[in-house]
């Protein structure tokens, strides 16, 4: 008797699913260590393409793109996390207020409008107000679509924190500000951190919107990579991809661990 939870073949499906998800990444990661110039032939293990990323002919271009990606992601995710934290406080600790439903819809709007439509409308907006596309326009667009991603974990966390903790603090002579700083903020922190991390990855990940609002000459890592692969997949692209993959996995693991550690609210 296997019990009602068991269905034959579901394990196999899950494993197949994982295989499909991981095989391409694994293959690229392995080939990034290929010593050969050809992407089809295995020329033994080598780090030459990683060296090429940092010193090769395209190093300058990718270096600048990486710097842009990183700084944009940093500023956008931090700003978005701050805006989302304030919004979550209002939405979850603000009681019933006029416009709550509308505010909720607004926060989630960037998730509902198709990415390509956001890209088009943002480009049209910048062009109409006469803002030259470049670093600033990318940054503004990223802040906007990062807000709902930062909001989700922050709001979820805040919802799990009962109001009695702040009340207990107030009962024990804390002012409103002290109750926020000493009790609510530390309790919210895991949510804020994972919201920030997710926003960071989302910003780092974005291609479509960035591609529309970046302007000529300005590149982030995804747009630079896209430009390269249009001429065919080269080994140095695989090395860059593997590096970015590593960064993403690192960040998601961090977000996961922070969240799990923070789950313990008795």
């Amino acid at each position: 008797m296997k019990g009602v939870r068991h269905y034959p073949g579901f394990l196999a499906m899950t494993l197949a699913c994982l295989l499909v998800l991981y095989a391409p990444l694994a293959v690229v990661a392995v080939y990034s260590f290929n010593g050969s110039t050809s992407i089809t032939q295995w020329g033994g293990f080598s780090l030459r393409w990683y060296g090429d990323v940092f010193t090769g002919p395209e190093a300058g271009r990718f270096g600048q793109a990486a710097w842009n990606s990183l700084t944009i992601a940093l500023i956008a995710s931090t700003t978005a996390a701050a805006i989302a934290t304030a919004a979550a406080l209002a939405m979850i600790r603000g009681g019933a207020f006029h416009g709550r439903q509308a505010s909720f819809a607004l926060i989630n709007l960037p998730l509902m409008v198709p990415e390509i439509v956001i890209a088009v409308s943002t480009l049209i907006f910048f062009s109409t107000v006469g803002l030259t596309t470049g670093y600033l326009t990318i940054l503004l667009a990223h802040i906007t679509f990062c807000i709902p991603f930062a909001y989700l974990p922050i709001a979820a966390r805040l919802e799990g924190i009962e109001g009695t903790y702040e009340q207990a603090a107030r009962d024990l002579y804390a002012t409103r500000a002290q109750a926020f700083r000493l009790i609510l903020l530390p309790l919210m922190m895991p949510g804020v951190v994972s919201g920030w991390l997710l926003a960071f990855i989302i910003s780092l990940d974005d291609f479509i919107i960035t591609n529309f609002v970046k302007g000529a000459g300005m590149e982030t890592l995804p747009t630079a990579i896209f430009g390269s692969v249009k001429q065919g997949i080269k080994p140095n692209i695989m090395a860059i991809s593997t590096l970015m993959l590593g960064v993403s996995v690192l960040f998601v693991t961090a977000a996961y661990l922070v969240n799990r550690k923070g789950q313990k609210i008795p």
């Binding site: 009962e162 009340q167 009962d171 002579y173 609210i265």
Partner: protein
């Protein structure tokens, strides 16, 4: 002497819902005072109004003479033990206990010292550096107590603090709480819907129902001398009989029982006419010299007692409890029995 807490004509409305109707209460210093009542009667609301988490719609709340109804919670020298304790999960036990002192600006050495003594008082010194999540329910409860007592409040508020504990622990904590109250001399206002808890610990009890205080008195008062049907019925078990009052004078009424017998008993009303009579089931004996006659329908064995479910001659259901002594033969179903009311068994109610 000024009362520790004086509530005058306090009203609480949530929109169109009235949670409290003109409540008046006076709680003396050094008293163990209990708010008792069924779910939804407004106990928590009243307590939260004293703590300052809920605005007072109308009326005043005085603490040793000062009106505190408009003060922020952090400006009221009262502390609360929360129902699920609300221990700060990101702080150690000792930091939790010291929190109130820290907010009051007490220096680090003094508060560590005092928090340590509070933990000693609740027998948890060994757990000072643990996090609250690593404590059992009973231990968390005692930390919550220590935390609320550490700033030496003028009044301690407790909202069903024992409800999350199992039976054995709950009984032990009752004794401990009562002891703590006597040792510290702090006024306790305790909320519960468990009457046994209320009867065993309290100096005085306020019985509440539907946003109104029905009766205030000692455990003996409210059990022996309930003023109305709600209190008589809510506290313990009782039989309610509708009777004709023939005369009342000086708190003593003469009533006609169904079946014709006359009875004089203490009265909560001074009006004649039809009223309810409360008769406690354990204050009856089987007797030839009967005030009432009934037919036994069922006998339920309860260990220390026998519960006899009967029907009076007029058709009213009636319950009595007999001590399960070897000498007493249990009546058989179908038997007709005579019931004798002991001294103080009956009381005439106001409604």
């Amino acid at each position: 002497m000024t009362a520790a807490v004086e509530i005058r004509r306090a009203v609480k409305r949530y929109g169109s819902v009235t949670a409290l109707h003109r409540v008046d209460l006076s709680i003396a210093d050094n008293e163990f005072f209990t708010l008792l009542g069924p779910s939804g009667c407004g106990k928590t609301t009243l307590l939260r109004m004293i703590a300052g988490f809920e605005d007072v719609t109308e009326g005043e709340i005085r603490l040793f003479g000062d009106d505190i109804a408009r003060l922020e919670p952090n400006h009221r020298p009262v502390n609360t033990v929360f129902q699920h304790y609300a221990l700060f999960p990101h702080m150690s036990v000792i930091d939790n206990v010291a929190f109130g002192l820290k907010m009051k600006g007490v220096d680090a050495a003094t508060r560590r010292d005092r928090a340590g003594r509070m933990l000693e008082m609740v027998h948890l010194s060994a757990f000072a550096d643990r996090s609250p999540a690593q404590l059992s329910g009973g231990q968390q409860q005692r930390v919550a107590l220590a935390r609320a007592l550490a700033p030496d409040p003028k009044v301690l508020l407790l909202d069903e603090p024992l409800s999350a504990l199992d039976l054995k622990l709950r009984q032990a904590m009752r004794v401990e709480l009562k002891q703590l109250q006597e040792d510290t001399g702090i006024t306790f206002i305790f909320v519960t819907h468990d009457q046994e808890e209320a009867l065993t610990m309290s100096d005085r009890i306020a019985v509440m129902s539907e946003g109104r205080v029905q009766q205030v008195g000692t455990a003996r008062d409210i059990y022996e001398a309930p003023v109305n049907r709600f209190v008589a019925d809510f506290i313990g078990e009782t039989n309610l009989l509708e009777v004709e009052v023939e005369a009342v004078a000086g708190g003593v009424a003469t009533v006609a029982l169904p079946g014709g017998h006359r009875l004089t008993c203490p009265s909560a009303t001074s009006a004649t006419g039809r009223h309810h009579l409360s008769i406690r089931p354990e204050r009856l004996t089987l007797s030839q010299d009967a005030d009432l006659t009934a037919t036994v329908e069922r006998v339920v064995y309860l260990g220390t007692d026998l519960q006899v479910i009967a029907r009076l001659d007029g058709g009213t259901p009636f319950t009595l409890r007999l001590q399960n002594a070897a000498r007493v033969a249990a009546p058989e179903p179908g038997a007709r029995v005579g019931l004798h009311l002991e001294e103080g068994a009956a009381r005439l109610l106001a409604d």
